[in-house]
Protein backbone atom coordinates (compact mmCIF):
# COMPACT_ATOMS: atom_id res chain seq x y z
CA UNK A 1 0.00 0.00 0.00
CA UNK A 2 2.73 2.35 0.95
CA UNK A 3 4.69 1.66 -2.22
CA UNK A 4 1.67 2.22 -4.42
CA UNK A 5 0.94 5.63 -2.93
CA UNK A 6 4.59 6.63 -3.32
CA UNK A 7 4.53 5.81 -7.04
CA UNK A 8 1.27 7.68 -7.33
CA UNK A 9 2.79 10.76 -5.76
CA UNK A 10 5.75 10.56 -8.11
CA UNK A 11 3.48 10.30 -11.14
CA UNK A 12 1.40 13.23 -9.92
CA UNK A 13 4.40 15.36 -9.20
CA UNK A 14 6.26 14.65 -12.41
CA UNK A 15 3.70 14.01 -15.13
CA UNK A 16 6.26 15.00 -17.75
CA UNK A 17 8.58 12.22 -16.63
CA UNK A 18 5.88 9.64 -16.99
CA UNK A 19 4.62 10.92 -20.32
CA UNK A 20 7.53 11.96 -22.47
CA UNK A 21 10.86 11.05 -20.92
CA UNK A 22 11.86 9.20 -24.04
CA UNK A 23 11.75 11.96 -26.63
CA UNK A 24 11.90 15.30 -24.78
CA UNK A 25 15.15 17.14 -24.53
CA UNK A 26 15.66 20.46 -22.83
CA UNK A 27 18.32 22.80 -24.17
CA UNK A 28 19.75 25.45 -21.91
CA UNK A 29 20.48 28.69 -23.77
CA UNK A 30 22.66 31.22 -21.95
CA UNK A 31 22.71 34.49 -23.84
CA UNK A 32 23.40 38.23 -23.55
CA UNK A 33 20.38 40.38 -23.01
CA UNK A 34 19.58 42.17 -26.27
CA UNK A 35 18.45 39.24 -28.49
CA UNK A 36 15.88 38.09 -25.92
CA UNK A 37 12.94 39.26 -28.05
CA UNK A 38 14.38 37.59 -31.15
CA UNK A 39 14.84 34.24 -29.39
CA UNK A 40 11.33 34.59 -28.06
CA UNK A 41 10.19 34.26 -31.69
CA UNK A 42 12.94 31.93 -32.93
CA UNK A 43 12.41 29.15 -30.39
CA UNK A 44 8.71 28.53 -31.18
CA UNK A 45 9.57 28.67 -34.90
CA UNK A 46 12.34 26.08 -34.41
CA UNK A 47 9.98 23.82 -32.45
CA UNK A 48 7.68 23.73 -35.49
CA UNK A 49 10.48 22.28 -37.66
CA UNK A 50 11.24 18.55 -37.80
CA UNK A 51 14.56 19.01 -36.01
CA UNK A 52 13.00 21.04 -33.25
CA UNK A 53 10.12 18.70 -32.53
CA UNK A 54 10.13 17.74 -28.86
CA UNK A 55 12.96 20.11 -27.94
CA UNK A 56 12.21 22.55 -25.15
CA UNK A 57 14.38 25.39 -23.86
CA UNK A 58 15.43 27.01 -20.66
CA UNK A 59 16.68 30.53 -21.33
CA UNK A 60 18.87 32.85 -19.33
CA UNK A 61 19.66 36.42 -20.36
CA UNK A 62 22.01 38.97 -18.82
CA UNK A 63 25.07 41.12 -19.45
CA UNK A 64 27.40 39.30 -21.84
CA UNK A 65 30.45 39.23 -19.59
CA UNK A 66 28.43 38.16 -16.57
CA UNK A 67 26.74 35.33 -18.47
CA UNK A 68 30.13 34.14 -19.67
CA UNK A 69 31.50 34.15 -16.11
CA UNK A 70 28.41 32.31 -14.88
CA UNK A 71 28.99 29.51 -17.39
CA UNK A 72 32.69 29.47 -16.49
CA UNK A 73 31.76 28.95 -12.85
CA UNK A 74 29.35 26.13 -13.53
CA UNK A 75 26.02 27.39 -14.91
CA UNK A 76 24.62 24.60 -17.11
CA UNK A 77 24.55 25.58 -20.76
CA UNK A 78 24.12 23.75 -24.05
CA UNK A 79 24.39 26.91 -26.11
CA UNK A 80 26.09 30.20 -25.36
CA UNK A 81 25.34 33.38 -27.33
CA UNK A 82 27.35 36.48 -26.46
CA UNK A 83 27.83 40.05 -27.57
CA UNK A 84 31.47 39.67 -28.50
CA UNK A 85 33.90 36.84 -29.24
CA UNK A 86 36.21 37.31 -26.21
CA UNK A 87 33.39 36.12 -23.95
CA UNK A 88 33.49 32.78 -25.79
CA UNK A 89 37.29 32.73 -25.93
CA UNK A 90 37.40 32.82 -22.14
CA UNK A 91 35.23 29.67 -22.11
CA UNK A 92 37.58 28.00 -24.61
CA UNK A 93 40.41 28.59 -22.16
CA UNK A 94 38.37 26.78 -19.49
CA UNK A 95 37.72 23.92 -21.96
CA UNK A 96 33.99 24.57 -21.84
CA UNK A 97 33.80 25.37 -25.55
CA UNK A 98 35.72 23.50 -28.25
CA UNK A 99 38.78 25.24 -29.69
CA UNK A 100 37.42 25.02 -33.22
CA UNK A 101 34.06 26.64 -32.36
CA UNK A 102 34.52 29.30 -35.03
CA UNK A 103 35.52 26.91 -37.81
CA UNK A 104 32.40 27.19 -39.89
CA UNK A 105 31.13 29.17 -42.83
CA UNK A 106 30.03 31.97 -40.51
CA UNK A 107 33.18 32.03 -38.33
CA UNK A 108 31.00 31.21 -35.35
CA UNK A 109 28.81 34.30 -35.80
CA UNK A 110 25.01 34.38 -35.84
CA UNK A 111 24.10 38.08 -36.11
CA UNK A 112 25.69 41.36 -37.11
CA UNK A 113 25.16 45.02 -36.49
CA UNK A 114 27.04 48.32 -36.80
CA UNK A 115 27.98 51.11 -34.38
CA UNK A 116 25.79 54.18 -34.95
CA UNK A 117 25.33 57.72 -33.62
CA UNK A 118 21.98 58.09 -31.87
CA UNK A 119 21.22 61.83 -32.07
CA UNK A 120 18.58 64.36 -31.02
CA UNK A 121 15.60 65.03 -33.25
CA UNK A 122 16.75 66.51 -36.57
CA UNK A 123 20.44 66.05 -35.67
CA UNK A 124 20.84 69.72 -34.58
CA UNK A 125 24.62 69.44 -34.19
CA UNK A 126 24.96 67.85 -37.64
CA UNK A 127 27.01 64.90 -36.44
CA UNK A 128 27.90 62.60 -39.34
CA UNK A 129 31.55 61.63 -39.06
CA UNK A 130 33.83 60.63 -36.22
CA UNK A 131 35.59 63.97 -36.60
CA UNK A 132 32.30 65.82 -36.00
CA UNK A 133 32.32 64.42 -32.47
CA UNK A 134 35.29 66.69 -31.68
CA UNK A 135 33.36 69.89 -32.50
CA UNK A 136 33.39 72.29 -29.55
CA UNK A 137 30.58 71.66 -27.10
CA UNK A 138 29.53 68.25 -28.41
CA UNK A 139 28.60 65.96 -25.53
CA UNK A 140 28.93 62.21 -25.94
CA UNK A 141 27.26 59.42 -23.97
CA UNK A 142 28.79 55.95 -24.25
CA UNK A 143 28.70 52.99 -21.90
CA UNK A 144 31.89 52.54 -19.91
CA UNK A 145 34.13 50.08 -21.83
CA UNK A 146 35.34 48.64 -18.53
CA UNK A 147 31.88 47.80 -17.19
CA UNK A 148 30.21 47.00 -20.52
CA UNK A 149 31.97 44.55 -22.81
CA UNK A 150 29.68 45.70 -25.61
CA UNK A 151 30.94 49.27 -25.27
CA UNK A 152 34.28 48.03 -26.56
CA UNK A 153 32.68 47.89 -30.00
CA UNK A 154 32.15 51.67 -29.71
CA UNK A 155 35.76 52.37 -28.81
CA UNK A 156 37.05 50.20 -31.64
CA UNK A 157 34.59 51.83 -34.06
CA UNK A 158 35.99 55.26 -33.15
CA UNK A 159 39.58 54.06 -33.37
CA UNK A 160 39.04 52.32 -36.71
CA UNK A 161 37.09 55.33 -37.97
CA UNK A 162 40.14 57.49 -37.31
CA UNK A 163 42.36 54.97 -39.13
CA UNK A 164 39.94 55.00 -42.08
CA UNK A 165 40.25 58.80 -42.15
CA UNK A 166 43.95 58.36 -42.86
CA UNK A 167 45.38 58.67 -39.37
CA UNK A 168 48.30 56.56 -38.14
CA UNK A 169 47.68 54.21 -35.20
CA UNK A 170 49.36 56.73 -32.86
CA UNK A 171 47.21 59.57 -34.21
CA UNK A 172 44.13 57.39 -33.89
CA UNK A 173 44.94 56.87 -30.21
CA UNK A 174 45.23 60.64 -29.83
CA UNK A 175 41.84 60.95 -31.51
CA UNK A 176 40.38 58.54 -28.93
CA UNK A 177 41.82 60.61 -26.09
CA UNK A 178 40.38 63.82 -27.58
CA UNK A 179 37.02 62.21 -28.18
CA UNK A 180 36.96 60.91 -24.61
CA UNK A 181 37.17 64.50 -23.33
CA UNK A 182 33.69 64.99 -24.82
CA UNK A 183 32.22 62.03 -22.93
CA UNK A 184 29.82 63.39 -20.30
CA UNK A 185 28.39 60.13 -18.97
CA UNK A 186 29.58 56.55 -18.96
CA UNK A 187 26.61 54.40 -17.97
CA UNK A 188 27.31 50.82 -16.94
CA UNK A 189 25.49 49.17 -19.85
CA UNK A 190 24.01 49.88 -23.28
CA UNK A 191 20.43 49.91 -22.00
CA UNK A 192 21.35 52.31 -19.20
CA UNK A 193 23.06 54.42 -21.83
CA UNK A 194 19.82 54.70 -23.75
CA UNK A 195 18.00 55.70 -20.52
CA UNK A 196 20.62 58.35 -19.86
CA UNK A 197 20.32 59.76 -23.40
CA UNK A 198 16.52 59.70 -23.37
CA UNK A 199 16.60 61.50 -20.01
CA UNK A 200 18.16 64.40 -21.89
CA UNK A 201 21.89 64.00 -21.40
CA UNK A 202 24.32 64.45 -24.31
CA UNK A 203 24.08 65.30 -28.03
CA UNK A 204 25.03 61.85 -29.24
CA UNK A 205 24.85 58.35 -27.84
CA UNK A 206 27.14 55.71 -29.29
CA UNK A 207 25.05 52.59 -29.77
CA UNK A 208 24.42 49.56 -31.93
CA UNK A 209 22.08 49.77 -34.88
CA UNK A 210 19.97 46.89 -33.52
CA UNK A 211 19.53 48.70 -30.18
CA UNK A 212 18.55 51.91 -31.96
CA UNK A 213 16.06 50.03 -34.16
CA UNK A 214 14.72 48.23 -31.08
CA UNK A 215 14.17 51.56 -29.32
CA UNK A 216 12.35 52.87 -32.42
CA UNK A 217 10.15 49.77 -32.50
CA UNK A 218 9.29 50.44 -28.86
CA UNK A 219 8.15 53.91 -29.84
CA UNK A 220 11.08 55.84 -28.37
CA UNK A 221 11.85 59.12 -30.16
CA UNK A 222 15.22 57.95 -31.43
CA UNK A 223 17.04 59.06 -34.58
CA UNK A 224 20.36 57.68 -35.68
CA UNK A 225 23.14 58.28 -38.18
CA UNK A 226 25.44 55.56 -39.50
CA UNK A 227 28.91 57.05 -39.99
CA UNK A 228 30.57 56.21 -43.33
CA UNK A 229 33.36 54.45 -41.53
CA UNK A 230 32.10 52.20 -38.78
CA UNK A 231 32.71 48.77 -37.34
CA UNK A 232 30.80 45.65 -38.31
CA UNK A 233 29.68 44.12 -35.02
CA UNK A 234 29.60 40.33 -35.07
CA UNK A 235 27.87 38.35 -32.32
CA UNK A 236 29.11 34.79 -31.70
CA UNK A 237 27.26 31.64 -30.69
CA UNK A 238 28.59 28.19 -29.77
CA UNK A 239 27.61 24.78 -28.49
CA UNK A 240 29.39 23.96 -25.24
CA UNK A 241 31.65 20.93 -25.00
CA UNK A 242 29.85 19.96 -21.77
CA UNK A 243 26.46 19.79 -23.48
CA UNK A 244 24.62 16.50 -22.99
CA UNK A 245 22.38 17.23 -25.96
CA UNK A 246 24.90 18.11 -28.65
CA UNK A 247 22.88 16.83 -31.65
CA UNK A 248 19.85 18.93 -30.70
CA UNK A 249 22.02 21.96 -29.85
CA UNK A 250 23.80 21.67 -33.20
CA UNK A 251 20.42 21.39 -34.92
CA UNK A 252 19.28 24.63 -33.29
CA UNK A 253 22.54 26.31 -34.30
CA UNK A 254 21.99 25.12 -37.88
CA UNK A 255 18.44 26.41 -37.82
CA UNK A 256 19.58 29.86 -36.64
CA UNK A 257 21.59 30.23 -39.86
CA UNK A 258 18.66 29.33 -42.12
CA UNK A 259 16.84 32.02 -44.09
CA UNK A 260 13.61 31.98 -42.03
CA UNK A 261 15.55 32.31 -38.78
CA UNK A 262 17.82 35.04 -40.14
CA UNK A 263 14.73 36.86 -41.37
CA UNK A 264 13.42 36.89 -37.77
CA UNK A 265 16.75 38.28 -36.55
CA UNK A 266 16.59 40.95 -39.28
CA UNK A 267 13.06 41.91 -38.26
CA UNK A 268 14.43 42.41 -34.75
CA UNK A 269 17.03 44.88 -36.00
CA UNK A 270 20.04 42.62 -36.52
CA UNK A 271 21.94 42.45 -39.77
CA UNK A 272 21.79 38.83 -40.96
CA UNK A 273 24.78 36.59 -41.72
CA UNK A 274 23.10 35.09 -44.82
CA UNK A 275 22.04 36.88 -47.98
CA UNK A 276 18.55 37.53 -49.28
CA UNK A 277 16.47 37.95 -46.14
CA UNK A 278 16.28 41.75 -45.77
CA UNK A 279 13.56 42.57 -48.33
CA UNK A 280 11.47 45.44 -47.02
CA UNK A 281 14.02 46.23 -44.30
CA UNK A 282 16.57 49.01 -44.41
CA UNK A 283 20.19 48.14 -43.63
CA UNK A 284 22.20 50.74 -45.59
CA UNK A 285 25.63 49.73 -46.85
CA UNK A 286 28.59 51.71 -45.67
CA UNK A 287 31.56 51.94 -48.05
CA UNK A 288 34.18 52.16 -45.31
CA UNK A 289 32.81 49.41 -43.09
CA UNK A 290 35.51 47.43 -41.29
CA UNK A 291 35.66 44.41 -38.97
CA UNK A 292 37.52 43.86 -35.71
CA UNK A 293 40.34 42.30 -37.80
CA UNK A 294 41.03 45.74 -39.32
CA UNK A 295 41.97 47.10 -35.89
CA UNK A 296 44.00 44.02 -34.93
CA UNK A 297 41.53 41.32 -33.88
CA UNK A 298 40.05 40.83 -30.40
CA UNK A 299 43.05 39.12 -28.80
CA UNK A 300 45.33 42.07 -29.56
CA UNK A 301 42.67 44.71 -28.95
CA UNK A 302 41.73 43.34 -25.50
CA UNK A 303 45.32 43.52 -24.36
CA UNK A 304 46.29 46.79 -26.01
CA UNK A 305 43.18 48.84 -25.22
CA UNK A 306 41.27 47.23 -22.38
CA UNK A 307 43.77 45.82 -19.93
CA UNK A 308 42.52 47.52 -16.74
CA UNK A 309 46.07 48.34 -15.69
CA UNK A 310 48.06 49.08 -18.81
CA UNK A 311 45.53 49.48 -21.63
CA UNK A 312 45.18 52.57 -23.78
CA UNK A 313 41.66 53.16 -22.47
CA UNK A 314 42.79 52.76 -18.86
CA UNK A 315 45.37 55.47 -19.55
CA UNK A 316 42.83 57.73 -21.24
CA UNK A 317 40.42 57.28 -18.31
CA UNK A 318 43.21 58.02 -15.84
CA UNK A 319 44.28 61.19 -17.68
CA UNK A 320 40.69 62.44 -17.73
CA UNK A 321 41.10 63.78 -14.23
CA UNK A 322 44.13 62.42 -12.41
Amino acid sequence: MRRISFTLILALAFPALAAGAARDTKLSLVAYSTPREAYGQLIPAFQKTAAGNGVSFSQSYGASGEQSRAVASGLDADLVAFSLAPDITSLVQKKLVAKNWANDKWHGMVTRSVVVFVVRDGNPKKLKTWNDLLKPGVQIVTPNPFTSGGARWNVMAAYGGALRAGKTPKQAETYLAQMWKHVVAQPASAREGLQTFLAGRGDVFLAYENEALFAQQKGQPVQFVIPKATILIENPIAVTSTSKNKPQAQAFLKYLRTKPAQRIFAQNGYRPVVKGVTQGLNFPNRPQLFTIKYVGGWAKVEKKFFDPRTGVMARIQASSGG
Binding site: A63, S148, A185, Q186, P187, Q195, A199, R309, S320, G321
Partner: protein
Protein backbone atom coordinates in the same frame (compact mmCIF):
# COMPACT_ATOMS: atom_id res chain seq x y z
CA UNK B 1 2.63 55.33 26.89
CA UNK B 2 4.47 56.16 30.05
CA UNK B 3 2.85 53.26 31.79
CA UNK B 4 3.82 50.75 29.15
CA UNK B 5 7.45 51.75 29.47
CA UNK B 6 7.44 50.76 33.14
CA UNK B 7 5.76 47.47 32.39
CA UNK B 8 8.52 46.34 30.05
CA UNK B 9 10.61 43.48 31.42
CA UNK B 10 14.26 44.34 31.74
CA UNK B 11 16.29 42.23 29.32
CA UNK B 12 19.17 41.85 31.75
CA UNK B 13 16.98 39.92 34.20
CA UNK B 14 16.42 37.11 31.71
CA UNK B 15 18.98 34.40 31.16
CA UNK B 16 19.19 31.96 28.32
CA UNK B 17 18.36 28.39 29.30
CA UNK B 18 21.29 26.97 27.34
CA UNK B 19 23.80 29.76 26.78
CA UNK B 20 26.39 27.48 25.20
CA UNK B 21 23.99 26.23 22.56
CA UNK B 22 22.77 29.73 21.72
CA UNK B 23 26.29 31.05 21.31
CA UNK B 24 27.27 28.05 19.21
CA UNK B 25 24.31 28.43 16.87
CA UNK B 26 24.84 32.18 16.51
CA UNK B 27 28.51 31.66 15.71
CA UNK B 28 27.76 28.95 13.18
CA UNK B 29 25.13 31.09 11.49
CA UNK B 30 27.33 34.19 11.40
CA UNK B 31 30.21 32.12 10.02
CA UNK B 32 28.16 30.68 7.20
CA UNK B 33 26.41 33.89 6.24
CA UNK B 34 29.05 36.55 6.88
CA UNK B 35 32.49 35.40 7.94
CA UNK B 36 33.12 32.68 5.34
CA UNK B 37 32.18 34.83 2.33
CA UNK B 38 34.33 37.67 3.65
CA UNK B 39 37.27 35.35 4.26
CA UNK B 40 36.90 33.93 0.76
CA UNK B 41 36.94 37.47 -0.59
CA UNK B 42 40.16 38.29 1.24
CA UNK B 43 41.64 34.99 0.08
CA UNK B 44 40.79 35.84 -3.52
CA UNK B 45 42.27 39.34 -3.37
CA UNK B 46 45.46 40.04 -5.22
CA UNK B 47 46.88 42.96 -7.14
CA UNK B 48 46.81 45.84 -4.67
CA UNK B 49 47.43 48.36 -7.45
CA UNK B 50 43.72 47.99 -8.15
CA UNK B 51 43.12 50.10 -5.06
CA UNK B 52 46.21 52.31 -5.12
CA UNK B 53 45.71 53.66 -8.65
CA UNK B 54 44.67 57.33 -8.74
CA UNK B 55 41.29 56.38 -10.22
CA UNK B 56 40.59 53.94 -7.37
CA UNK B 57 41.72 56.37 -4.68
CA UNK B 58 39.53 59.09 -6.17
CA UNK B 59 36.50 56.77 -6.28
CA UNK B 60 37.14 55.65 -2.72
CA UNK B 61 37.48 59.20 -1.38
CA UNK B 62 34.32 60.31 -3.12
CA UNK B 63 32.37 57.33 -1.76
CA UNK B 64 33.56 57.69 1.84
CA UNK B 65 32.98 61.45 1.97
CA UNK B 66 29.56 61.14 0.34
CA UNK B 67 28.60 58.33 2.74
CA UNK B 68 29.69 60.34 5.78
CA UNK B 69 27.77 63.41 4.62
CA UNK B 70 24.72 61.26 3.93
CA UNK B 71 24.98 59.63 7.36
CA UNK B 72 25.16 63.05 9.05
CA UNK B 73 22.21 64.48 7.12
CA UNK B 74 20.30 61.35 8.06
CA UNK B 75 21.14 61.89 11.73
CA UNK B 76 19.33 65.24 11.67
CA UNK B 77 16.59 64.60 9.13
CA UNK B 78 15.86 61.08 10.34
CA UNK B 79 15.53 62.23 13.95
CA UNK B 80 13.23 65.07 12.88
CA UNK B 81 11.03 62.68 10.91
CA UNK B 82 10.92 60.18 13.78
CA UNK B 83 10.01 63.01 16.16
CA UNK B 84 7.18 64.18 13.93
CA UNK B 85 5.86 60.66 13.55
CA UNK B 86 5.88 59.96 17.29
CA UNK B 87 4.98 63.29 18.90
CA UNK B 88 2.72 64.99 16.37
CA UNK B 89 -0.72 64.00 15.28
CA UNK B 90 -1.71 64.94 11.77
CA UNK B 91 -3.94 63.77 8.97
CA UNK B 92 -2.38 60.96 6.92
CA UNK B 93 0.18 60.11 9.57
CA UNK B 94 0.02 56.36 9.14
CA UNK B 95 0.37 56.92 5.40
CA UNK B 96 3.57 58.91 5.92
CA UNK B 97 4.75 56.30 8.38
CA UNK B 98 4.42 53.59 5.75
CA UNK B 99 6.07 55.85 3.16
CA UNK B 100 9.33 55.87 5.13
CA UNK B 101 10.02 52.19 4.37
CA UNK B 102 9.33 52.43 0.66
CA UNK B 103 12.96 53.10 -0.35
CA UNK B 104 13.71 49.58 0.95
CA UNK B 105 11.01 47.99 -1.17
CA UNK B 106 11.91 49.70 -4.43
CA UNK B 107 14.57 47.93 -6.50
CA UNK B 108 17.47 50.38 -6.35
CA UNK B 109 17.85 50.56 -10.11
CA UNK B 110 14.23 51.73 -10.33
CA UNK B 111 15.03 54.33 -7.69
CA UNK B 112 17.87 55.57 -9.90
CA UNK B 113 15.58 55.71 -12.91
CA UNK B 114 12.93 57.64 -10.98
CA UNK B 115 15.42 60.12 -9.55
CA UNK B 116 16.85 60.64 -13.05
CA UNK B 117 13.40 61.45 -14.40
CA UNK B 118 12.63 63.82 -11.51
CA UNK B 119 15.97 65.56 -11.03
CA UNK B 120 17.62 65.09 -14.44
CA UNK B 121 17.84 67.27 -17.55
CA UNK B 122 14.09 66.91 -18.15
CA UNK B 123 13.11 67.57 -14.54
CA UNK B 124 9.50 68.72 -14.20
CA UNK B 125 10.60 70.60 -11.06
CA UNK B 126 13.38 72.40 -12.91
CA UNK B 127 16.04 70.79 -10.71
CA UNK B 128 18.82 69.21 -12.75
CA UNK B 129 21.56 67.62 -10.66
CA UNK B 130 21.99 64.41 -12.69
CA UNK B 131 25.55 63.32 -13.49
CA UNK B 132 27.01 65.51 -10.73
CA UNK B 133 28.17 64.68 -7.22
CA UNK B 134 24.90 66.12 -5.89
CA UNK B 135 23.13 63.32 -7.69
CA UNK B 136 25.15 60.76 -5.74
CA UNK B 137 24.15 62.42 -2.46
CA UNK B 138 20.53 62.46 -3.53
CA UNK B 139 20.50 58.78 -4.49
CA UNK B 140 22.23 57.78 -1.25
CA UNK B 141 19.87 59.90 0.85
CA UNK B 142 16.95 58.15 -0.82
CA UNK B 143 18.10 54.60 -0.09
CA UNK B 144 19.28 55.34 3.49
CA UNK B 145 16.24 57.32 4.66
CA UNK B 146 14.61 54.56 6.78
CA UNK B 147 17.62 53.69 8.97
CA UNK B 148 17.73 56.56 11.47
CA UNK B 149 13.95 57.02 11.44
CA UNK B 150 13.37 53.37 12.31
CA UNK B 151 16.05 53.15 14.99
CA UNK B 152 15.00 56.38 16.75
CA UNK B 153 11.24 55.95 16.49
CA UNK B 154 10.81 53.08 19.02
CA UNK B 155 13.09 54.80 21.54
CA UNK B 156 11.08 58.00 21.29
CA UNK B 157 7.91 55.98 21.77
CA UNK B 158 9.24 54.52 25.01
CA UNK B 159 10.60 57.83 26.27
CA UNK B 160 8.85 59.02 29.43
CA UNK B 161 7.32 62.47 28.81
CA UNK B 162 7.24 63.05 32.55
CA UNK B 163 10.97 63.71 32.42
CA UNK B 164 10.38 66.52 29.96
CA UNK B 165 7.57 67.93 32.08
CA UNK B 166 9.85 67.84 35.09
CA UNK B 167 12.59 69.63 33.18
CA UNK B 168 10.13 72.26 31.99
CA UNK B 169 8.73 72.78 35.51
CA UNK B 170 12.30 73.37 36.72
CA UNK B 171 12.56 76.19 34.20
CA UNK B 172 14.49 74.52 31.39
CA UNK B 173 13.91 76.00 27.96
CA UNK B 174 12.60 73.72 25.21
CA UNK B 175 16.03 73.61 23.65
CA UNK B 176 17.70 72.80 26.96
CA UNK B 177 15.16 70.05 27.56
CA UNK B 178 15.91 68.56 24.18
CA UNK B 179 19.66 68.81 24.54
CA UNK B 180 19.96 67.61 28.14
CA UNK B 181 17.03 65.26 28.57
CA UNK B 182 15.87 63.88 25.23
CA UNK B 183 19.06 63.80 23.18
CA UNK B 184 21.09 61.69 25.65
CA UNK B 185 18.27 59.15 25.60
CA UNK B 186 17.98 58.86 21.84
CA UNK B 187 21.64 59.40 20.90
CA UNK B 188 22.56 55.69 20.97
CA UNK B 189 19.67 54.97 18.61
CA UNK B 190 20.69 57.84 16.30
CA UNK B 191 24.24 56.47 16.20
CA UNK B 192 22.99 52.97 15.37
CA UNK B 193 20.98 54.40 12.51
CA UNK B 194 23.91 56.50 11.33
CA UNK B 195 26.15 53.45 11.29
CA UNK B 196 23.64 51.46 9.26
CA UNK B 197 23.14 54.32 6.83
CA UNK B 198 26.88 54.76 6.36
CA UNK B 199 27.47 51.08 5.74
CA UNK B 200 24.63 50.92 3.25
CA UNK B 201 25.77 54.07 1.43
CA UNK B 202 29.38 53.00 1.01
CA UNK B 203 28.41 49.84 -0.88
CA UNK B 204 25.43 51.19 -2.82
CA UNK B 205 25.46 50.44 -6.55
CA UNK B 206 22.01 50.29 -8.13
CA UNK B 207 20.64 53.68 -7.16
CA UNK B 208 23.86 55.51 -8.00
CA UNK B 209 25.00 53.85 -11.22
CA UNK B 210 22.40 55.42 -13.48
CA UNK B 211 22.18 58.96 -12.12
CA UNK B 212 25.88 59.57 -11.49
CA UNK B 213 27.16 59.11 -15.05
CA UNK B 214 30.17 57.12 -13.72
CA UNK B 215 32.84 59.59 -14.83
CA UNK B 216 36.21 58.56 -13.37
CA UNK B 217 37.64 61.21 -11.01
CA UNK B 218 34.33 63.05 -11.02
CA UNK B 219 31.31 60.91 -10.26
CA UNK B 220 32.54 57.32 -10.20
CA UNK B 221 31.79 55.66 -6.87
CA UNK B 222 33.84 52.76 -5.64
CA UNK B 223 31.19 50.09 -6.23
CA UNK B 224 31.04 51.04 -9.92
CA UNK B 225 34.83 51.02 -10.05
CA UNK B 226 34.88 47.51 -8.58
CA UNK B 227 32.23 46.43 -11.09
CA UNK B 228 34.50 47.70 -13.89
CA UNK B 229 37.38 45.62 -12.58
CA UNK B 230 35.23 42.48 -12.55
CA UNK B 231 33.93 43.13 -16.06
CA UNK B 232 37.51 43.58 -17.26
CA UNK B 233 38.44 40.13 -15.99
CA UNK B 234 40.40 41.43 -12.98
CA UNK B 235 38.40 39.77 -10.21
CA UNK B 236 41.48 39.65 -7.94
CA UNK B 237 41.80 43.42 -8.10
CA UNK B 238 38.07 43.79 -7.54
CA UNK B 239 38.33 41.62 -4.43
CA UNK B 240 41.31 43.63 -3.20
CA UNK B 241 39.39 46.88 -3.61
CA UNK B 242 36.40 45.34 -1.83
CA UNK B 243 38.55 44.24 1.10
CA UNK B 244 39.77 47.82 1.51
CA UNK B 245 36.19 49.14 1.41
CA UNK B 246 35.19 46.56 4.01
CA UNK B 247 38.13 47.40 6.26
CA UNK B 248 37.31 51.10 6.04
CA UNK B 249 33.63 50.50 6.77
CA UNK B 250 34.53 48.21 9.63
CA UNK B 251 36.75 50.91 11.10
CA UNK B 252 34.02 53.53 10.87
CA UNK B 253 31.42 51.13 12.32
CA UNK B 254 33.74 50.29 15.23
CA UNK B 255 34.32 54.00 15.87
CA UNK B 256 30.58 54.72 15.87
CA UNK B 257 30.10 51.73 18.18
CA UNK B 258 32.74 53.22 20.49
CA UNK B 259 30.97 56.58 20.61
CA UNK B 260 27.71 54.77 21.24
CA UNK B 261 29.17 52.90 24.20
CA UNK B 262 30.62 56.12 25.55
CA UNK B 263 27.24 57.87 25.44
CA UNK B 264 25.60 55.01 27.32
CA UNK B 265 28.38 54.62 29.88
CA UNK B 266 26.12 55.78 32.73
CA UNK B 267 23.57 53.08 32.01
CA UNK B 268 26.00 50.34 32.82
Amino acid sequence: MAASAEALPTPRARRSAAPGLAIGLSTLYLSLIVLLPLAALAWHAHGWDAITSPQAVSALKLTVVASLVVALINAVAGTAIAWTLVRDRFFGQSFVNALVDLPFALPTIVAGLTLLALYGPKSPAGIDVAFTRWAILLALLFVTLPFVVRTVQPVLLELDTEMEDAAASLGASRFATFRRVILPNILPAILSGVALAFARAIGEFGAVVLISGNLPFKTEVVSVYVFGRIESGDSGGAAAASVVILALSFGVLLAIGGVRRWTTRHDR
